[in-house]
Amino acid sequence: MTVAPENYVALSAVLFFIGVVGVIARRNPLIMLMSIELLFNAANLALVTYARAWANNAGHIFAFLVITVAAAEAAIGLAIVAVTFRRSPHVDVDEVAALKG
């Protein structure tokens, strides 16, 4: 009844690249942000898996920090999307060039 860590790592890789496809292929900035959340979660799954495999708490701490940074990233990203939408109704990321320095 044991599951080898390799299965969890493979699941994490699959999730990560589903998220990568989402970031590359979608043009809706909200769905792109959600795909980035998928990437964070895939990385967290790998961290927790390795923490369990080595019986070491450091992976949990790292995943906790990643979750915190993901929260900050989501807040800032959604604020940028909201401001961009207020300036013009086009939220297609290919059309938005106003963020260039």
Partner: protein, 204 residues
């Protein structure tokens, strides 16, 4: 074992649904399913605190933030215009690229994970191993060995809050005055003294 495969299937299906959904609200629902199954997977990996944090922070805070922004953007003032759907043009090369990268990553990491595993490692990932993963040991590790990263995390959150307020806080749409001026303009007729009363008093 069976639980792992069921969870893995659910997780992959919900992730695919999140990425391929037409409307962002559907993506939020898929993402919620993904987070819940991931929390269950954390429980299988004996990361109890992280499972709770996953539900509370991700499903409770971040997804609600997404829902709020979607409701704000599609509130009927203007249609939520994403432009033409260019996904299909990019989808095939993206999937091919992703599968190639997935193959490479899987071959390298999984092999190294098997090879480098030390003597103290556990054979399988389920089962008991003392106090590993309990909230007490997690908190002890977080507040003793990793105190500085924890405090830096608090700083990052504060910077994010200040940044969000600066970005989205006090600026109206382009061409309109800032919100303080608008509020002053709206308040002006209320502050102005009633003219008719004074004229009627003067008439008496």
């Amino acid at each position: 074992m069976i639980a792992f495969w069921i969870l893995a299937l659910l997780m992959i299906a919900s992730a695919v649904f999140t990425v391929t959904a037409q409307k962002p609200v559907y993506s939020v629902v898929g993402l919620l399913a993904n987070f819940l199954t991931l929390a269950a997977t954390y429980l299988m990996l004996q990361a109890e605190f992280l499972a709770v944090i996953q539900i509370v922070v991700y499903s409770g805070a971040i997804l609600i933030l997404f829902v709020f922004v979607i409701a704000l953007l599609s509130s009927g003032v203007r249609p939520f215009d994403v432009g033409p759907d260019k996904a299909r043009m990019v989808l095939v090369p993206a999937i091919v690229l992703a599968l190639l990268a997935l193959l490479g990553i899987a071959l390298t990491t999984i092999r190294s994970a098997v090879a480098v595993r030390p003597e103290s490692a556990l054979g399988g990932v389920t089962g008991e191993s003392g106090s590993f993963g309990s909230v007490a040991s997690f908190g002890a590790a977080l507040f003793t060995t990793n105190l500085l990263p924890f405090e830096i995390t608090a700083f990052i959150l504060m910077v994010a809050v200040i940044g969000v307020v600066l970005i989205a806080g006090d600026e109206g749409p382009a061409g309109l005055p800032r919100r303080k001026k608008r509020r002053a303009i709206e308040r002006e007729p209320i502050v102005k003294p009633p003219v008719t009363l004074s004229t009627s008093k003067g008439a008496q």
